[in-house]
Symmetry: D3
């Protein structure tokens, strides 16, 4: 039986902390499922990038880092907003897994209530703050590029991503 | 014709103020419908408990208080998030009623716009603040138990509810 | 630990076969949860009656049959239409249960895949055909009343239910 | 107080029967609200045209027929699929009205249950069959144009509508 | 080919700034589509008025200002909350258009990403703040009437709108 | 610029015809996106398998056939049921693409209306009938295995898939 892990994030954008978490998790499992959460959202303040754009980011980062892509499943999963259904929704979109990697308190709680083994990710600052920081630095023309893999910085350039994040920072639209 | 009242709450958790409101309303009607609002939500900051857990809480509180359960209808109703549809949604999930008990300004307004008789609940501090307070005391290991019926404190213990509320207070997940 | 069963139906309307199933299930458990499925629907061909009307029907049938209402939980649950989430949705709306009573092949399969014990309901013709039959007899002014408990026939009269079912049989509206 | 009527259809497409119904209704009211129902749907077998396309069709037919457009409100309303909420949804999208024109059995029933006055539309064959017939003739290259106002036939030509209807008749996609 | 513009707002309520924007846009196009955004919402803090009420407001303001209503399409469009789908949703509810009038950063960005021409609205303070201001003045019994066309102030009086806005300012209900 | 194709299916299950279509498409593009459509559905008659299960099927078939997995993107996309939004939804979940491979009339029409280049798939019998046929043979204990790659037949065995399809063929549940 294959030993398969699950790692969930929104990856807005995927940064070096996420990459470190993937590399760490791969030491403990044969295969790792990377779930792109809140996949249906884009163009809002918490989620500037589409699922497709995030898919490309992760693929490029995996190539750049020389990871074995044969061990990774990268799967977008839309948010159902009913937390009591969320574990089942993740199970429906992914291959079977037996261990969950997460430092996020509610993610840990939900998978533990569903009887999964849950592991800490060592040396990993809580992810949302870092993605939040990347986006904040984008708005302020500060050096966000050092926080993400080089290939991702290039991709964000290709899609004019920084201007999208800046427009979102000014919007009145309710997301 | 039976004189039937309606009382709506989210009951996160059901506390002594809610119980007092039920007891008060029962003086004016033959039967009372207790609507568990926002029934589809759980495991988020405003709604830690599932509809099923809230159903058990109310049932136990009714037993503990010695109320006549034959006069009560306890009905979970999911939120439709379109307030112009909300009164119709409540009507669809419940037996017919002719009077609404509420101190909540919008609930009162919506039922009055739909031509229902609406009554104040005397001596009842606005409910959400109290449930909010119960949850806040849970997070702070303060004495939340004195705010809820004894049987509910026990039930929250059985389901490890305080740790769930604490996890929710720390989460990054967007609900 | 209480031994608690689950029994799911749409109850459009609740008929004598449903009542027999409830009575049968109560022989094997301390408490029984009766789930009113597809609770959000009404006024369509498969679902003429609202959840609230079905709640009243079941309550009256329980009284008429002299069942111990203290052993029953009657809970409306809206349909999520994603079968991979359905067991979790039912779990979220109900008290914990450990056994499921059903002859319906998919209901059985879904709860078995979720590791529940599932029991047959003996001497019970597949339910939807019977409710379908009751509605068909209503449209044809045939004797539908003998198929339902007397108190339910009366209630359907009170709400002019037969004319609603007849209007639905003629409608073009897409449900 | 203005005497305002309501007339609901899907108008897939708007044909001469619909136009006759509008003209008839205008004899009884000061203003008429024409609701474009199922507004969110398009490109499926029952609903080939978008709400925007149907809006243009009705506007052109009104001009062609020389009706007083100052007496008409043309309002797209998306379907909520919960019939118990449908009357409230229509009320939310429209100006206040006091009379409903319809021959459709469920539409009549829903508005009567909500205490509206409902009137028959004389000399009007049930609408869905006629729109269905127009679409069927399109697929068969039969003379559908004689069933719709001339300006609408032209508009359907402009948007290559017949080929869309033909593609839909062949599709496997589940709508 | 007709030169047709698009102008989107929530119009909660429609005020003199909106009217000025419409008048300005009409100088550049043959026809203007006024989209009533977030059409499904009402009775919440950001959206007190229904789509139907907003439709009446705009119609009255157009009459009061003596604009040519034959050049205007007023179309309610519900929000889909997935910004990557929003431009397509607007396209589905409206006649074809070729230019978008907006000062809102995300609206501009989304239509530019979809290759539309986007124009500034001169001398127009960002809309949401002004509608927000109107509602704030309503709550404070300050002079909100001077900010809206006279016919709209009258209409808000007819529907007891100020008391609705005040109730919403006090509510606990989660919208 | 990379030449990237798109190929959409529900893959219930993925069979040899699908595999042939993928192989054919790879002759014309550098990379191919395989969209698993209707991703949110499972356990119903048209969609017995979850998105996760279909993901595993395709991965195994790709390995078995010796295709270059570095040229493939396999992406689950949930159905939005509003065809006017569907192309935008697909665009949101996927990397940018410039050519669509499809024999399905509506899929072709929707992408052509959105100005994509659309290509026929040669020697490919319309897919849904074949998946329908596989499922029909499963129900009849006929030889379905010869229609799918060997590794997929094995996987369906691992997850007891035939019994799930048989249960679905007997169900009353409305999907």
């Amino acid at each position: 039986m294959v030993n398969r892990g699950l790692y969930v994030g929104r990856f807005q954008p995927f940064h070096k902390g996420h990459l470190g978490a993937v590399q760490n998790a791969l030491q403990f499992v044969d295969e790792l499922i990377v779930v792109i959460g809140s996949a249906q959202y884009s163009h809002n303040n918490h989620n500037p990038f589409t699922a497709g754009e995030r898919l490309v980011m992760i693929q490029r980062a995996v190539l750049e880092a020389g990871l074995d892509s044969g061990k990774l499943w990268i799967v977008p999963v839309p948010d159902v907003h009913l937390h009591m259904l969320w574990v089942s929704a993740v199970e429906g979109y992914t291959p079977k897994f037996n261990i969950v990697f997460s430092n996020e308190p509610l993610t840990r709680r939900l998978f533990m209530e569903a009887s999964y083994q849950v592991r800490d990710i060592p040396f990993f600052d809580r992810k949302i703050y870092m993605s939040t920081l990347v986006r904040k630095k984008m708005v302020q023309d500060d050096n966000w590029m050092e926080l993400v893999p080089k290939s991702i910085a290039e991709f964000i350039g290709e899609i004019d991503g920084v201007n999208r994040v800046k427009a979102l920072a000014l919007t009145d639209k309710i997301s």
